[in-house]
């Protein structure tokens, strides 16, 4: 189910459900959830089923249940766009929040997390500054890919490709360079973008229900 690594001396579990579990701090991390993205599509006439949101929240439930986390830190892009007044989904998130009343919920805001002030309050979500530190690990949404500090981030939606042409599989992945780890996008309704290559990054791929060390493979990151 998960793979134990050490980041700047801290043991962390990389989980096949796209989250990171830090047992010593009873803290789980996710990145790039993009809640409400389906709604943005529907408003523009693209019929994406609303079950996407339910599935996303259920996946978060599973992370919390599987780890027993007391704190959940979202490394940016919690939402896809600021909610409209008559949107239903922020209320669904609020209901979800009520089911986890004891949980400490933290956002390190990403580029999509704008215009949320009122909702962060209703969701009882702390707003941590970009670069906030926890035991020497810097938490951020977007990292400088050429000079990553020890810490955790999101934004890139890393993906790794295996196999020769014609027989290729694509895996969602964690990307690592030195003591920095980029989380995969947690939201299932995310992906795509232009390829971007950077030297020095290695990958942990999510293959079904396990996480595999792929440090031998050096494929492109995707944003």
């Amino acid at each position: 189910m998960s793979l134990r690594i050490e980041l700047a001396g801290h043991p962390l579990d990389l989980r096949a459900d796209r989250s990171v579990w830090w047992p010593a701090r009873r803290t789980a991390f996710v990145a790039d959830v993009h809640l409400g993205k389906d709604q943005v599509f529907r408003r523009s006439g693209v019929p994406i089923p609303a079950e996407v949101l339910d599935a996303e929240l259920a996946a978060l439930d599973a992370v919390l249940a599987g780890t027993g986390a007391e704190r959940l830190i979202v490394l940016g892009d919690w939402v896809h766009a600021a909610p409209d007044d008559d949107d239903g989904w922020p209320h669904a998130v609020e209901r979800w929040r009520r089911h986890h009343a004891e949980l400490e919920l933290v956002l390190v805001a990403g580029n999509h997390d704008r215009g949320l002030t009122e909702w962060l309050e209703r969701w009882r979500m702390q707003d941590w500054a970009d670069g906030a530190r926890l035991d020497g690990l810097a938490l951020m949404h977007e990292v400088d890919l050429d000079a990553p500090p020890a810490g955790l981030s999101g934004h890139v939606h890393p993906v790794v490709r295996l196999g020769p042409r014609g027989d290729r599989v694509r895996l969602t992945a964690f990307a690592r360079r030195a003591d920095h780890l980029i989380l995969p996008a947690f939201g299932r309704f995310t992906g795509g973008g232009e390829g971007l290559e950077r030297a020095g990054w290695t990958f942990y791929g999510i293959a079904g229900d396990r996480v595999v060390d792929l440090s031998g493979v050096r494929p492109p990151l995707r944003r």
Partner: protein, 807 residues
């Protein structure tokens, strides 16, 4: 009748007089009929169709826009407009024909609305955009006739479906509207005509100049016994081809693929004495470069243009002295069409020089020659029930002034494409555009089309804008435009090819060797490369499979050879030694005999099977048989296919007797097994790309429309996954699966092969070495790995390989 004089005068000025079929078409037009005119290129069918409108327009000028001329290629639109203008100008009516395509500026489009010309040349997509304006009924209700050029080319595509729907809309506003189509000869003219005029009308079919002979000349190699058994480029015939080009004034050299065209163009340029007088023309090259090539050929500046199917169309494309065809034409209709590019005079002979690229193509040409004598050509099957196109059309109709759903349903059912549309399917489409899907609560805040006072309407201007941008995208594929860094567009190349290249790597395109600088915003920036070593892009598609008509002709040739009745043509004589060898070491396939060969080599054990059903069907068939075999004995096969048959290669020998083959060739459960055998879900996902775009599920990136569109961009693959998980009954998913079977794998032909095999004798051989039929498959190997493994197993296998490599 004085009204016929302008046409007589126009023709007389060129030293011609009206032909019988032209007079027939003009009279039918006068009488208010609709129909289809079929004739070879250059036989005067444009004037046959247009003449009636010319007389009518000169006689009674009318008001507003009265005639629409639809052309499939916007590159042809300007030439067409000029050709239509000529007889009118000759009679003193100037500026009566205008142009509206995707390239027309917004300013010009507005002007065309304010001061409509009597006649407009446009494309199917541009017509759909016209239908999407609120005042469309007022502007288009005075139309007297619509003409559809190159209908055979639109017929079997989704663009044809879009046009059928648009025509139904126009006929709904004006029941007296006449529809006339122009087409090359087809094997299913009745169906083509019905699709054009709608199923509620009786079309007239007018044939013109059908006796125009096609003269086939094959450029046979001197020593056939040393001619290669395989290959696709045929470049060893270069010298002979150049001699031919030099002997004629102007030549068109057709190839079957863009890659072949690039290779031939470079080869000719490298060795001929007139490198400046050769040009390249294919569908990925920019419009400007293509127009330069067309222009150069018509004014005699160029000696030769190397072209692909991109030059198969074109009404008034000026005739050349000589047409050459590299490789088999793969179908009779295509050969006739291409031959028609030469000697464009009514009554003249169309002549085509065929250049075989390997020995079996000589046999194909022998079969072509025999088939030409029968006068039969291939059909093109119009598509049915393409719900993605229907969904797009419903939004278009809702934009175009609003429409009651019941009336639209009746109207849509007058088209051939939707004549069998069931009320539940219609309801699904209406739900899809009004609510997002059948379950109301599943799509909150969905906004596209609304039913207001019994009319379907589009309330949001932004959605209207997005929809209009999307209408034109039926033809777009995942292509990147190729540009010089300092400006200057060369055309477009498939994303899949360019994505594999790294900056600094070289490739051949538009006849040049280019170096990739970077890819950004759907554009590949390049500079000329110094070295001339480079990869040639392999474009997807474009390679038509061998037609059933020609494949059966080939089998008949084999049978005739076996019976000692080989036709006395040069090609047949040249092919005879090869056929004799095949018969000696194995046997020759026939309509009542399926040949299977097992050969062992260092690579493993090869099974070769020759159903002669074309490469697409062979792909599906090979996967199916491999899967069925693997159900009994776990085995992994590599598969190779060509137009004649396929190869199954395994590391360990697989012993299969005739009874075993009978079992795996069983026609029962074909559909179920083929879905299981191929990664059908993945194929459908790929197919879904087009469907999602047409139905408005994905938005293209548009320059200048950045933010509005970027926020709702998602790959069609992602949407496919989301729908499959949360809306599994979505009919568009079902359509994707259907298209995989019907269009991509030609399941009709697969079924025919299996059903035929029941009656056939199975002829199993174990030749010592590769036979003439096996060799091209072996040499041509494009390995596609096929196993019965699932996704997880593939990942494990790759991880295992990585671990082995690391150890």
């Amino acid at each position: 009748m004085s009204a016929c004089c302008p046409l007589d005068a126009f023709l007389a000025a060129q030293g011609l007089e009206p032909q019988a079929f032209q007079r027939q078409a003009w009279a039918a037009f006068d009488a208010g009929a609709s129909g289809l005119i079929h004739a070879p290129t250059g036989s005067g069918k444009t004037l046959a169709a247009w003449g009636g409108a010319v007389r009518e327009l000169l006689d009674s000028p009318g008001h507003g826009l009265q005639y629409l001329w639809i052309t499939p290629l916007r590159a042809l639109a300007a030439d067409t407009a000029r050709a239509l203008d000529r007889p009118l100008a000759h009679a003193g009516l100037s500026e009566a024909v205008a142009l509206r395509t995707g390239d027309t500026s917004a300013h010009r489009k507005r002007k065309l609305m304010d001061q409509p010309p009597p006649a407009l040349v446009t494309t199917p997509e541009s017509l759909s955009v016209m239908l999407s304006y609120a005042d469309a009924p007022q502007r288009l209700k005075n139309l007297r006739a619509v003409f559809v050029d190159e209908w055979h080319d639109l017929l079997d595509s989704k663009r044809g479906v879009l046009l059928q729907l648009a025509l139904a809309r126009l006929r709904g506003w004006n029941p007296g509207l006449r529809t006339w189509g122009l087409s090359a000869t087809l094997g299913n003219l009745d169906q083509a005509a019905a699709a054009l005029v709608g199923v509620d009308r009786e079309p007239l079919i007018i044939a013109g100049d059908l006796d125009r002979p096609v003269e086939l000349v094959s450029l046979l190699p001197g020593a056939v016994d040393r001619f290669p058994w395989a290959g696709r480029v045929g470049i060893r015939q270069l010298k002979a081809v150049i001699d031919r080009i030099e002997a004629a004034g102007t030549s068109l050299l057709f190839t079957n693929t863009r890659s072949q065209a690039e290779i031939w163009f470079n080869a000719i340029q490298a060795v001929c004495d007139w490198p400046d007088r050769v040009a390249l023309h294919h569908g990925s090259i920019s419009r400007d470069l293509r127009q330069q090539a067309e222009q150069g050929l018509s004014d005699g500046r160029l000696k030769c243009v190397v072209a692909t199917a991109s030059l198969d169309l074109g009404v008034d494309f000026s005739p050349v002295d000589q047409v050459l065809q590299v490789g088999s034409p793969k179908g009779i209709a295509r050969l006739i069409q291409r031959a028609g590019r030469s000697g464009h005079r009514p009554g003249g002979t169309a002549r085509i020089v065929c250049v075989p690229t390997h020995a079996l193509e000589i046999a194909e040409l022998a079969a072509v020659r025999e088939r030409l004598k029968t006068g039969r050509v291939e059909p093109r099957r119009p598509l049915r029930l393409a719900l993605d196109v229907l969904a797009q059309h419903v939004v278009t109709a809702a934009l175009g002034g609003g429409v009651p759903p019941d009336a639209l349903f009746e109207e849509v059912r007058t088209t051939h494409a939707f004549a069998d549309l069931a009320p539940v399917q219609w309801q699904w489409v209406v739900d899809f555009v009004t609510r997002g899907g059948p379950a109301l609560e599943a799509y909150p805040a969905f906004q596209r089309v609304e039913a207001v006072n019994g009319l379907l309407r589009v309330p949001s201007r932004r959605i209207a804008m997005l929809h209009r941008l999307n209408i034109g995208t039926i033809t777009a594929d995942g292509a990147l435009s190729v540009k010089f860094r300092k400006g200057g567009s060369l055309g477009s190349v498939e994303e899949r090819f360019l994505a594999r290249l790294r900056p600094g790597e070289r490739f051949v395109f538009a006849g040049r060797v280019l170096e990739l600088i970077r890819i950004r915003d759907m554009t590949a920036y390049v500079r000329p490369a110094k070295s001339n070593k480079a990869q040639v892009p392999a474009w997807q598609g474009g390679r038509l499979p061998l037609s059933t008509l020609l494949a059966d002709g080939l089998l008949k040739l084999f049978e005739d050879f076996g019976a000692g009745r080989l036709p006395a043509s040069a090609e047949a004589l040249a092919a005879a030694p090869l056929l004799a060898l095949q018969r000696e070491v194995s046997s020759l396939p026939a309509r009542d005999r399926l040949v299977l060969e097992q050969v062992t080599s260092r690579e493993g054990s090869h099974w070769f099977v020759y159903p002669f059903a074309g490469r697409l069907a062979h792909e599906g068939l090979a996967a199916l048989l491999a899967w069925r075999i693997a159900q009994q004995t776990p085995v992994t096969f590599s598969i190779t296919v060509n137009d004649y048959g396929f190869e199954l290669l395994s590391a360990e020998p697989v012993a299969l007797a005739a009874e075993d083959w009978r079992r795996v060739l069983d026609p029962a459960d074909l559909e179920r097994d083929i879905v299981a055998s191929l990664d059908a879900a993945n194929l459908a996902k790929y197919r879904f790309r087009d469907i999602a775009r047409i139905a408005g599920l994905v938005q293209q990136g548009y320059p200048g429309k950045g933010k509005a569109v970027r926020q709702i961009q998602a790959s069609s693959g992602l949407i496919f996954d989301v729908l499959r998980e949360h809306d599994a009954d979505n009919l568009l998913l079902d359509q994707a699966r259907r298209e995989v079977l019907e269009a991509q794998l030609e399941i009709r032909r697969i079924r025919a092969v299996l059903e035929r095999s029941v009656e056939q004798s199975l002829s199993l051989h174990t030749p010592e070495r590769l036979t003439p039929l096996a060799f091209p498959l072996w040499a041509d190997r494009l390995r596609a790995h096929l196993t019965s493994e699932d996704w997880q197993a593939r990942v494990e296998r790759m991880l295992g390989r990585l671990e082995r490599d690391a150890a």
